[in-house]
Amino acid sequence: MAEPRFSVLTPVYETPEDVLWAMLESVRTQTFADWELCLVDDCSQDPAVQRMLERAAAEDPRIRFRRREDNGGIVPSSNDALAMAGGEFVALLDHDDELHPDALAHVHEALLGEPEADYVYTDEDKIDRGGHHSGPFLKPDWSPERMRTQMYTCHLSVLRRSLVEEVGGFDPEFEGSQDWDLVLKVTERAREVLHVPRVLYHWRMLETSAAGGGEAAKPWAFEAGKRAVQAHCERIGLEAEVERDTADSGVYHLRPRLREQPLVSIVIPTGGQSRDIRYERQVLVTHCVRSIVERSTYGNYEIVCVADTSTEVGVLRELEEIAGERLRLVEFDRPFNFSEKVNVGAVRSEGEHLLLLNDDIEVATPDWIERMAMYSSLAEVGAVGGRLVLQDGRLQHVGVRFEDGLPGHPYHGYSGDYKGYGNAVLVAQNCLAVTGACLMTRRELFEEVGGLSAGFPLNYNDVDYCLKLRQLGKRSVYDPDLTMIHFESSSRSSEVEKWEKELLRERWLPFTAVDPYSNPYLRHEMPRLTSPFAWARRRRPRLRRRLPKGQRA
């Protein structure tokens, strides 16, 4: 028998009859027929399980069944199923879940379009015992940084079998999160990762499953997840310690453990403006610099203040008092152009990393520089930003999202404890851009792309910069664990001019028309209300093509 396209791997253990039948049926009714189903019964005590599986195998030659002689757990069963597999790709299906009838067809289509893809994942939702759907998880395209803080790709995962075997299959050390470990290992080597933005997997909510019972159902799984991510960080040289979120069991955080501290140049353009901060009149830049000096734990940084010639001498003296030898004052005597100011500051600095900072920012997280440097040191990362909040604690920036080719701040003005769709506010992730109010980038990249474009003198220069980096193949990262307070747009009006929008669109629309880190079925980062109709829509059967007039018989 020729090698099938997909081998569906399903370890089975004490599955309730009705859900087992539903799982089997969901594979049997796939519109794409070139699959095999590799079932491994991990020595279930319920004879009905074995009966159902044997019968399924007897009725369909594509279904293969093996019963283990002893109960080894999910990892040995999964590896047994892998050993049975002969397909080009393996698809992971849990014994109590269901596939959408077109799941394999959509994945197959995606692979035809990208033959070098080694890993494909889809969107998913939850399904209860009665078959009612809820809780769709509409995912972004491939986001390596998100993958380290949340197993977001989860179901349906389809991996190239040769690569799975190359990394050694499922690792018993990470039982409970063996899928996550496997995906991390495969994606470290994958040439291409694809996302199919359709709900093609239905995750059964049972009290005993993680979908239904959360951490209470499988507490060891979340600890295993932490270990899996830690091992991944060590393999790729990311200097971080993994921690679990105290409230959300599926969320993890990276704490930097830097071996070295390269020089970081904090470039702060300023005009010496004042405003009320916590009901006290303050000069923004002195408040900003004081918060850096008093709160930062990073040792090796310099502060480059690029000040307008109109800045009061008293302000400059106070800056020198606060920052001492760390301070470098640069005079800016040209007409206002934020990009030029930053570029001048960058030229006059010496750090390996540049940290662009608005003067209306206050540092809140002591290891903010370490966190940014941890990501900025990765070769594939171009820019790093953090979580900015307003004075009253509401969210101001959690990464930039594009809609219709224009950037926006999702959840702007939402309460500070808002988690975001799919915990998007809580997890590290990739974005097309991060705000220049607090942005770290490597000097070599800054110079390679020519710094900030002077063509954007006020707005969008940060977005333009991040997109230039993306053009080079570099990612932008949002780190939720570094928080800054942003006294937003205290210095200048934030109203974006029409010409700025047109220029941005003209320059970048091919990149920004569709934001890969959002989802086609999300609007303002919430599921579109009409999306369930789209998900329920089945593939139309191929219609007979009508030949043009001259070619008809």
Binding site: R278, Y279, E280, L390, Q391, D392, G393, R394, L395, G413, Y414, S415, G416, D417, Y418, R523, H524, M526, R528, L529, T530
Partner: protein
């Protein structure tokens, strides 16, 4: 004429009062921020529903009138007490 000591004490008292009020304001500002944030969330959700309703209305004119009439009939049957 109050003496210097008295004036300094009064100044100190007023400074303390300013700090106390400022702290109180900051706490209230945070609480207000939470409420404003929740309001923004609900406003965005409501906008989504309105946009959906407008799209439905555009495709099937009179839909909102029919839905509204149905709702009014149900409310009429229920009576003022909802019973």
């Amino acid at each position: 004429m109050p003496d210097r000591e008295e004036l300094l004490r009064e100044l100190e008292r007023r400074d303390e009062e300013i700090l106390r009020l400022r702290d109180l304001l900051l706490v209230k500002e945070r609480e207000l921020g939470q409420a404003l944030g929740r309001l923004r969330e609900l406003e965005d959700l409501s906008r989504s529903f309105m946009a959906l309703a407008a799209r439905v209305q555009a495709r099937v004119p009179g839909t909102m009138r029919v839905v509204g009439a149905g709702l009014r009939r149900v409310q009429g049957r229920r009576g003022p007490d909802g019973g």
